[in-house]
Symmetry: D2
Subunit: 140 residues, 4 copies
């Protein structure tokens, strides 16, 4: 399974008065992770929308918070494909504190694969090149 | 089961370039919902922290996105207690578009019940008054 | 000068690890304030865009931070029209802590008045009804 | 004058239903810019707080929006010291679209220099090493 890692640093905007990272902000970093993951595979999400008229609307998300990230922590956001369906894709995520290697948060986002009118798109048939790359990335 | 309903209106800050509400923002409205739910029960979260030295750190969250909320929609955020454990509490949420009554998003947040040093607190033994109110609210 | 007041309550999402409201969040409340101000005048911003094809893109903003707002504070967001130009409008804002009446933040946002292609629109000539209401609100 | 440049990429979370970057988000990138600027000078803000008991609370901010940043744009955030006072510092910022070199946004944030009890700290007398570095960075 191919894993993509990127780093972000926690700023004050990300934290709250509990002095930890506010729990909703991980979803923003998950977005960064999957966008860069797809870009690395050769499929910039922006081009998918503009050229292939393809969208990946969210259908669900979830997170488990194990340990808090604090101000100025460097986080490693790891993204991978958990499951590839006929017209759906599920990404998994792990967030580590870089300095200590501790696993802080795990999560997922599930997406439909649709055209810009939100009609399901069968990747295998309609975008076989992308489908093949995703299959290989999920399995690797 | 006691249900608390509050209204919020979607502003530009809540939306994204897909022209819908960005998925992370529901977690913010869930926070509003459970805070007002507890306040209605007579337990302002601020006082719980300041006086009872009690915290409700998140352990997990999840959301299912059924339909998108768009700019200027008035949303009804419904909050309820899904499950009350010995030293844990799980809130459930439903988000409706007020104008049409459509259910847009469902979700949950699970919390530990701890002291300010993050040690678990047995509500039934240590804060029987709050425990009793929560039990009744969950069961009603 | 007509002044519109609305209340918001500071949640954890609004705060940061300094234990105060993160400074960028006031801009979000300014957006709420001017949206409700215009709605009160009979011009919902959504309809202005959808029907009158009118937009109010930001050209500048500024804030002065006098005192911090903290978790669970109820804030009064006061909005007014500072200046009405031929194809521009400048809103002023004041943020008070409701409980104490202290002035916490002052600010402004300046906007062009344009069509949906961002071409300036002369309000007085093209939307005299709205222009008249704005003039009266600014002067009152 | 020493200038620090860093890059960020606009994600959906940063945009709004106007299909441009929501105006408040530049303040978040300004925070990133000045944090990395100070780190490059050898003064991590986190250490300033934890060790030197120094804080830089915001007293004002302002932005001028010239052109919008859109989804997936790579932005260059340029940070510099506009003015260094006895117990105050003012940072300036410029935001460019990397691909085209266009200047999109200019701004500033003004900060007091205080101890953790928010009492003003005379940098020149109390932290001469930091003061000297800032003077040279402002003047360079």
């Amino acid at each position: 399974m191919r894993r993509h890692t990127m780093e972000v640093r926690v700023i004050y905007a990300d934290t709250d008065a509990m002095r930890i990272t506010y729990h909703a902000n991980y979803l923003k970093w998950f977005e960064m992770g999957r966008t860069e993951y797809l870009r690395e595979l050769g499929f910039a999400y922006k081009d998918m929308e503009d050229e292939a008229m393809l969208m990946l609307p969210l259908t669900s998300s979830g997170m488990t918070y194990k340990k808090p990230a604090v101000y100025d922590d460097v986080l490693e956001i790891v993204t991978f494909i958990e499951k590839l369906g006929g017209a759906s894709i599920r990404f998994g995520y792990e967030v580590y504190r870089k300095e200590t290697g501790e696993l802080l948060v795990t999560g997922h986002t599930a997406h439909g694969v649709t055209n810009t009118k939100l009609k399901p798109v069968r990747l295998k048939r309609e975008l076989p090149e992308l489908y093949q790359v995703l299959v290989e990335s999920a399995a690797e």
